[in-house]
């Protein structure tokens, strides 16, 4: 019997309770979010350059984005590249990190704090630190490479390598996602592990048959959030390169920010935002659809 709460017909008291608990979000959505979202949708079908008033132009902006704006397509490419590399890397590394830090290794508390620290350092100073580390002449990275005989590239200052530097730097913050995995690992009942031990299961066996499946709702969360997060990326790249050099690290949101605030073209920027929105929506829908095959909720009893 399926017990997915989203698919069965509700009773009357159920409906009232649902509305009550969802209330804060519903009110907030209608008051704080719907208005601005609708406004931005309206802007996206207008020609709206400050300080002039918006003028309706239909799907002009959208058309231009895909047919006459190589910079936009470039930013899409950069963003997809970034997401394609960092989302899987972050997922795997974050989980591995949480798994190791959940074991009874010495000084575990210190290691966890250490790995978490990057998440609390403000992005602005992070940018300064990594610009220094990746400096082609005085930075530590190229110095270490030189010790092994490799001539380091110009990293953040070279259009061919800047993106790689940005992706490497994003790995520094892997400790942020680790927390959620840690919390999840905690909630796996130790009874299951004890039962597995009695059956003579090896650690790998335990990992694949118990830990991962029970962690799948959390992994699912991190995957969805990771996708949304990387597509929404702005500050971390802005403080490193501002989208340069030569737009090689110009992720979607940087081009959007420039269009909205530097070129003051609100209408065009709103169209960009809605394209991004639909893109993320489509990707998330895909992930959700696939979730029924690999995400296991303890509540759902299948077939």
């Amino acid at each position: 019997m399926k017990t997915n709460p989203m698919k069965t017909t509700p009773s009357k008291t159920d409906t009232w309770w649902a509305l009550f608990f969802l209330g804060p979000w519903l009110i907030g959505f209608l008051v704080f979010t719907l208005g601005p979202m609708a406004a931005s949708l309206w802007f996206s079908v207008t020609r709206f350059t400050l300080p002039a008033a918006p003028v309706f132009v239909g799907f002009d902006n959208y058309g231009k984005l895909f047919t006459a704006d190589p910079r936009f397509l470039g930013s899409l490419g950069v963003t997809f590249l970034y997401a394609g590399v960092t989302v899987p890397a972050g997922l795997i590394l974050g989980f591995a990190l949480a798994y190791f830090l959940n074991l009874k290794i010495p000084f575990a508390r210190f290691w966890r704090t250490l790995y978490y620290m990057p998440a609390v350092v403000t992005p602005v100073i992070t940018g300064t630190l990594f610009i220094g580390l990746f400096d082609p002449r005085h930075g530590l990275i190229n110095y270490l490479l030189a010790q092994t005989g490799v001539a380091g590239p110009d990293w953040l200052l070279d259009p061919r390598y800047a993106m790689y530097a940005v992706m490497l730097i994003s790995l520094w913050g892997v400790g942020g996602g680790m927390i959620i995995y840690l919390a999840g690992l905690q909630s796996i009942s130790t009874e299951l592990y004890e039962a597995a031990d009695l059956d003579g299961a090896s650690p790998t066996h335990r990992l694949w048959k118990i830990t991962l499946p029970l962690m799948s709702p959390i992994i699912f969360y991190n995957l969805v959030v990771g996708i949304i997060g990387t597509f929404q990326l702005f500050t971390q790249v802005w403080v490193l390169t501002k989208g340069g050099p030569a737009s090689s690290t110009e992720v979607f949101n940087i081009y959007l920010y420039k269009t909205a605030f530097e070129y003051q073209n609100m209408g065009y920027a709103s169209a960009q935002a809605w394209v991004l929105f639909l893109l993320i929506l489509a990707l998330t829908a895909l992930v959700f659809k696939s979730s029924s095959t690999w995400v296991y909720y303890e509540n759902e009893v299948k077939g």
Binding site: T8, L19, T128, S187, T235, L256, A269
Partner: protein, 344 residues
């Protein structure tokens, strides 16, 4: 059946492997942090070395004739000595022996790479940061904001997640999609309409735009808590219902205790987010008396970047409280054992 010895050995191997990998990775993570710590003791006189040094070095200076003089590594009659420069003429400089300043020699002028450098730490940078901006007021502002926002976040997010996880409503699937969709729209674009809305309400230049939305749930946290909630067996709810509990009491007595690890996590995230957020205060606040610490410390991020060392000191101070809070709150969501199971 495996012997307990071989089991212990494989567990020990696992722990050793984990320890080695974690330690190696930690070194890589720590390097930028080390630079930040080192930079916070630097000053305008810090020398640039290649590769950049974590510990700040400055040129050694000694006072001769009432003036500070640079000390250079000089080649004098085939020997290398340290001497201080006391006079400069075109091409030739006059050097003095640091120990016997009357002992002087005329030798060729040298370049900056010949200067003697010594590690120099400026501990007063932190005091300077405190004296340059009204830290106490900023701290109080920040604490008030954090407390209010965290309370609002915990209450509203738990409520909404509970609603999504445990109750049935026509069209709930669509509502959940809308919930997630709200975070997919880039914030830069809703920034201006939101700002206009708050201005129309007259809440500009106050904390209200920063605090009020926290009481109306946040999609990321709702999603996260909902995922956890889905992992709590419904049998718990049923058992409580049999005992005569309504949904609210089920939430408070049954669900909340199970959610403790994730609630601490959400609280931690919220606190750290608010602590570090300077963009929203930047947009909504005009009066410097209302600034939180994050915005106040931006002062050192100035146009010509010549307060870099103060920026580092300020960032270090800004990073410490969350780190300390994290360190001590670990035991709440990294507990040794979590016992679940229906009590008889």
């Amino acid at each position: 059946m495996r012997s307990s010895l071989s089991k212990k050995r494989s567990e020990a191997r696992e722990i050793l492997l984990a320890f080695v990998l974690v330690a190696l990775g930690a070194v890589a993570i720590l390097i930028p942090v080390a630079y930040m710590v080192g930079g916070s003791f630097a000053s305008r006189d810090t020398a640039l070395l290649s590769p950049q040094s974590i510990i700040p070095f400055e040129a050694k200076r000694i006072t001769i004739d009432g003036q500070p003089r640079f000390v250079y590594r000089v080649i004098d009659a085939g020997r290398e000595r340290e001497m201080a420069v006391v006079d400069r003429k075109q091409g030739t400089w006059v050097y003095a022996d640091p120990n016997r300043p009357a002992d002087r020699k005329e030798l060729p002028a040298l370049g900056p790479e010949a200067r003697v450098l010594v590690p120099t730490l400026h501990f007063d940078n932190f005091a300077t940061v405190y004296q340059t901006i009204p830290m106490l007021r900023y701290l109080i502002n920040t604490v008030i904001m954090i407390v209010l926002i965290t309370v609002g976040a915990l209450v509203s997010n738990v409520m909404v997640a509970y609603g999504f996880a445990r109750f049935r409503l026509k069209g709930m699937g669509i509502l959940f999609v809308i919930l997630l969709a709200t975070i997919m729209l880039p914030s830069q674009v809703t920034l201006i309409p939101t700002f206009v809305m708050f201005k129309v309400l007259g809440w500009n230049n106050s904390w209200i735009p920063l605090i009020l939305p926290a009481f109306f749930a946040n999609a990321w946290n709702v999603f996260l808590i909902r995922q956890f909630l889905m992992g709590i067996p419904k049998e718990f709810d049923e058992a409580a219902k049999i005992d005569g509990c309504g949904p609210i009491r089920i939430l408070l007595l049954v669900i909340l205790p199970e959610l403790k690890p994730i609630l601490i996590t959400v609280a931690l995230f919220t606190v750290i987010y608010v602590w570090n957020d300077f963009f929203n205060p930047l947009i909504y606040l005009q009066d410097p008396n209302l600034y939180p610490v994050s915005l106040g410390l931006q002062t050192f991020n100035s146009l010509h970047g010549y307060f870099g060392y103060l920026n580092a000191a300020a960032s270090l101070m800004l990073a410490l409280p969350p780190v300390i809070i994290f360190f001590f709150s670990q035991k709440y969501f990294i507990q040794g054992t979590v016992v679940s199971g229906i009590k008889g």
